[in-house]
Subunit: 241 residues, 2 copies
């Protein structure tokens, strides 16, 4: 294994073993390099890599620190990774979201505070009248984000956050082709909100399912029409050119 890769593992090991804890500061580059037995350049490559995935936080003029390592911090690397996916993966992403989002919504129906739910209602009403498309999209993201956080599970919330962003593009397309998408979105948000207010987890779950499935269904048809792919099983990368 390359020295740098080894250094990554060593640093990871120091963190996992507890020798380095969240918030701790690493020895300065020169010292750590000496301790790990490699050059500063190679060590910097290791640190930079761990920095990209949010394990380390490097501050020029100050030092290098271990991040909080909270799931929500580490898992937003997932978003970075998902940026690399092409359209042919969006269906699969959406399918996973259709599994997670209803579950999160049901959990939120039990756990969110009355204040949080009320504030969520305010958010929904803001987009009721004549929503600008961009505002609607932003509000939509925020709506789902709050529910995800409301599930009380930061891992779940982070995953949903990562899965929602790439979906955004699909949502934009939908808005462009289906004029009544905006109205549908708002109506369904209202329905989900009502279910939360009523503390009805199963109803909330059902509406969330309907909501996500709507996007998914549209996308399936759009993609199917575009390249005639069979989405039943594998959907093996019909990259066109």
């Amino acid at each position: 294994m390359a020295l740098t890769d080894e250094a990554i593992e060593r640093i990871k090991g120091m963190i996992v073993s507890g020798e380095l804890r969240p918030g701790d500061r690493l020895p300065k580059e020169a010292d750590l390099a000496g301790r790990l037995g490699l050059s500063r350049n190679s060590l910097r490559e290791a640190v930079r890599a761990l920095s990209l995935i949010r394990v380390l936080d490097v501050r020029q003029g100050d030092g290098t620190y271990v991040t909080s390592l909270q799931p929500e911090v580490l898992l937003d690397t997932v978003g970075f990774v998902l940026d690399f996916h092409r359209d042919d993966s969006v269906m699969h992403l959406l399918e996973v979201r259709r599994i997670l989002e209803p579950a999160a919504t049901a959990m939120a129906a039990r756990l969110m505070s009355d204040d949080e739910i009320e504030s969520l209602g305010t958010l929904v009403e803001m987009t009721d009248g004549d929503p600008d498309l961009n505002d609607l999209i932003a509000a939509d993201l925020e709506f789902h984000r709050r529910i995800a956080v409301g599930s009380g599970n930061p891992v779940l919330a982070s995953l949903l956050e990562s899965l929602s962003a790439p979906t955004l593009r699909a949502r934009v397309w939908r808005g462009l082709t289906q004029e009544n998408a905006a109205a549908h979105t708002v109506e369904q948000h209202q329905a989900i909100h009502r279910a939360l207010v009523a503390r009805e987890p199963e109803l909330a779950r059902a509406w969330a399912t309907v909501h996500i499935a709507g996007v998914e269904d549209w996308l399936r048809r759009a993609l199917g029409a575009a390249n005639g792919v069979d989405h039943a099983r594998g959907m093996a990368q019909p990259r066109t050119g």
Copy 2:
């Protein structure tokens, strides 16, 4: 933004825009560094970071290539990231797994081929008699992995793969404390398999839920007993150090 971070974005951009496609080879370090306007050292940091998350594949003496970018490749970074989580996050991971795994199992009940299901049965039977603990754990991972792949959704399969590995530790603990865990595991695997053979998605889902919930329930009690934390909502890092 730092030069290296900018380089990361530039390379990412080249890939997302399609200028660089899966399998393509990047210009050699010196050339690419010149083109991006930074030194070879700094460029190497960027490349190393993208290499850690499996976007680039660097081969000494050959060149640097863009990976396949398949979801299963990129998402296994999630596993690396999850390695950093401590015990207090395991509950949340398991909770997410309890959402995904039953869904995947139900999908597998519809999509897996008869051959795949039969081969799965062989795997289950192998652990029936007097399973060595390590063999059992390996077979358990393989069992769930095959079902995840059988869902037909590579994103889902990769996420479950990542979520299962950290669970392994908990499973070991369970094996150590509860002697009948092995028997339970095999029995539940058999039940899941029977549901797959019968092509009963909802039954398969139910058994999968029971199976994961068993681990989760045990872990909840074990953690609760260990530090008296309230797991109902936030479970805010009771690090005892």
